[in-house]
């Protein structure tokens, strides 16, 4: 079951930037692209658990600040030739409100 939680407004996240939502299961990073798409990933790089929320966002990707792995925002997969995968969460946008889908506990 997915539990939908309103976490704030899209304007709270800078364009090409990220914010963190703290949850009982760890940090979730919310990214906003130039075109105002919002994506949510577990805030850990599959490589050495670097905080992806601190990376540089470009297109629909983020570069991890620790060792420059590039992660796809849409599915959490590392861009080849790196291999790995970080969990992603569904997002709904409703008139500027950002609603994050978490697994209910």
């Amino acid at each position: 079951m997915t539990e939908w939680v309103e976490v704030g407004n899209i304007e709270d996240i800078p364009k090409l930037g990220a914010r963190v939502v703290k949850t009982a299961d760890g940090d979730v990073a919310l990214f906003r692209t130039t075109d105002d798409d919002v994506f949510a990933l577990h805030d850990e790089c599959p490589h050495k658990q670097g905080p992806l929320s601190q990376g540089i966002v470009h297109g629909k990707r983020v570069t991890c600040p620790l060792h420059n792995w590039v992660i796809e925002l849409a599915d959490g997969k590392a861009v080849a030739p790196d291999q790995g995968h970080t969990a992603c969460f569904p997002i709904k946008l409703d008139a500027g409100k950002v609603i994050l889908g978490l697994k209910s506990r």
Binding site: D12, V21, A24, D27, K48
Partner: protein, 812 residues
Amino acid sequence: MKEKLVLIGNGMAGVRTLEELLKIAPEKYDITVFGSEPYGNYNRILLSPVLSGEKTIEDIMINDLQWYEDNDIKLLTGKKITTIDRKKRCVIADDGTEASYDRLLLATGSNPFIIPIPGSDLPGVISFRDIHDVDAMLDAAKKYKHVVVIGGGLLGLEAANGLKEQGMDVTVVHLLDTLMERQLDKPAADLLQAALEERGLNFMMQAETAELLGDSRVSGVRFKDGTEIPADLVVMAVGIRPNTELAESAGIYCERGVVINDTMQTYDPNIYAVGECVQHRKETYGLVAPLFDMAKVCANHLAHLGYSRYEGSDISTKLKVTGIDVFSAGDFTGDDSTEDIIVKDAARGVYKKLVLKDDKLQGAVLYGDTIDGSWYFQLLRDGTNVSDIRDSLMFGQGNLGDSGHGGNSVADMSDDMEVCGCNGICKGDVVKAITEQSLFTLDDVRSHTKASSSCGSCTGLVEQILMSTLGNDYSDTPAAKPVCKCTDFSHDVVRQTIRDQKLLSVSAAMKYMEWRNSDGCHVCRPALNYYLLSTWPGESEDDYQSRFINERVHANIQKDGTYSVIPRMWGGLTNPSELRAIADVVDKFAIPEIKVTGGQRIDLLGVKKEDLPNVWGDLNKAGMVSGHAYGKSLRTVKTCVGSEWCRFGTQKSMTMGVELEKMSWGSWTPHKFKMAVSGCPRNCAEATIKDFGVVAVDSGWELHVGGNGGIKVRATDLLCKVTTEEEVKEYCGAFMQVYREEAHYLERTAPWIERVGLSYVKERVVEDAEGRSALHQRFLESQKFSQDDPWAERVEKGVDKHEFVPMKKIGA
């Protein structure tokens, strides 16, 4: 409706062009490929290792049939195009298959040259060009004993070595007295011949073949002087001829090859040509690196981008014979106008010759120790003035500052020896990636293996492994390297455009220069942002999201996601109230570790991100500001105690250090910038490994530049000597400003000075008094916009507040 592109020739040049085209214009064409061999596209340059048994055919496939399918390319193998109808714009194959085109790409390659002597058409006489030839050789090796290789060039020797490895008795026949005479001079060739003889190869030099003997199969070779030797297999490796037959039959202008212009067009503008079949500016090419350059340009025009030009390729050569290191590049013959530098140590099996003309490297031949081959090649292609480094040029790049890998020869390295100490990558890993993933460039190796992608100190070694694995077909990093994959423009071009067009934001710059990805990537955005800030201080927009996290939050991210905080201590000086404040902050925020840094500062490690503003607030209250230990910026000015205390001191080094730091703090630079001031030539502040080092002497101050104590230890070069403190500051500001205005982003002063030459820096900073003053003024002007304490801005003015608080907490 898509346009139709037809490619004739399914080899490396043509298919590489398609790959480049698909990268930039994947939807533009319906593509049809005609190939005569019944395979996908394979890496022809690795045929030698297949022959010697080090690899199999499967290992060297680049594009299998699946690739063509995945990219919607129609591949027609086993069909030979016999007619190009330029009026109707269609091509016709021998079986009648027709295909019409809007653009046609010829990549028909070359044919081996067969010497027209009696018997050259006998069974058992082959060339060394394709899989078919290799199969024939491997087959012969099982049944026969004697092989004669005609031609002692690169290909001939590789074939000879491979056949020897297969157990055959090999004789190499060469017309001249020098092996590989196009790549080697006599002394190097003699060393090579001796090494190959030791492996059991036989040589017949200055021998002209008159006739191949035999009835149903070749059985021997007869020479002009009448001698005969037995041969069950003859390999002709005496050169290649561009295959122009089809082009000529269609009336396209050909000389030795199909003649093309700088945009890869033949005399028929709808018909392009790339690869070994072409003749460009009178040159023909038989190596892979130039083919790749051509492919890139050709794709650019096929995609209607139209701005790229092929201007010819410099080539370097490397023999692919395991255990023998030979390298050559450029014109090494020399004449009256050139000078030679030669080292020969026959016992060690080392010979090196460098040919200089007008203070530039014109050619190089290396035997036995080729580690600096890629460096020499780079100097040669860049046309670098080497007069400043001439005295140590012969001893290699390592001698300019040992990278920690000095003396390693790739040929001697075992597969389990570590190449990249940062990422733990061994030689075997690199070789495996190069062959299995079909890698050609340093960048390819970096992204696939991570070797040389962190600190970069093993770059020379990785390049050498690339060279020895791929041989002469190693595709060198182009001289003017693009900033990143988002653009084809180099750092210099980007910077000049920002200046000329007065571009003031990252997005405007990317738009004007037609960036491929609309918001760039993590490589180009910080570089663009720096170029904007340094070119238009106060006017350009500092793009926060284009900065690396450390510069965004003014602290250093650590492996666990916490941060380190280093307050500024001017010239390394502190006092009780600062120390108390630091101690209090550590207690209050339970900061786990305190460390004294190499730059004479105190580092607080393990600070949580949300605590940063409060930590800074407390430090600000005690009068401390950001130490910029996180930035591509002025880091620290390290000092010794100088004449204020020291009985040997000649000048007040602490005061000088504090003044320099007050002048330059907060400035953004292409890479980090470190300074030091020593009070006497004992140099306790280690000023001679800093970007800008000052050493006091009794009569004034010595100014040193371009030192580095990190990855690659490099002692500074002496810039000049000055007498007054004001001069020290002016020269310092001017030096920093030239570096800020002209170095590439992420280029430290050491490699920058090696690139532009110390003479150039002296010209700008020392010899031109007016220019120096103007540079210094520009530096001070730019400082007006950068000397706001970023910590105070965040504590007091709430700048970037969103960075330090979570968006929301759920159930935590």
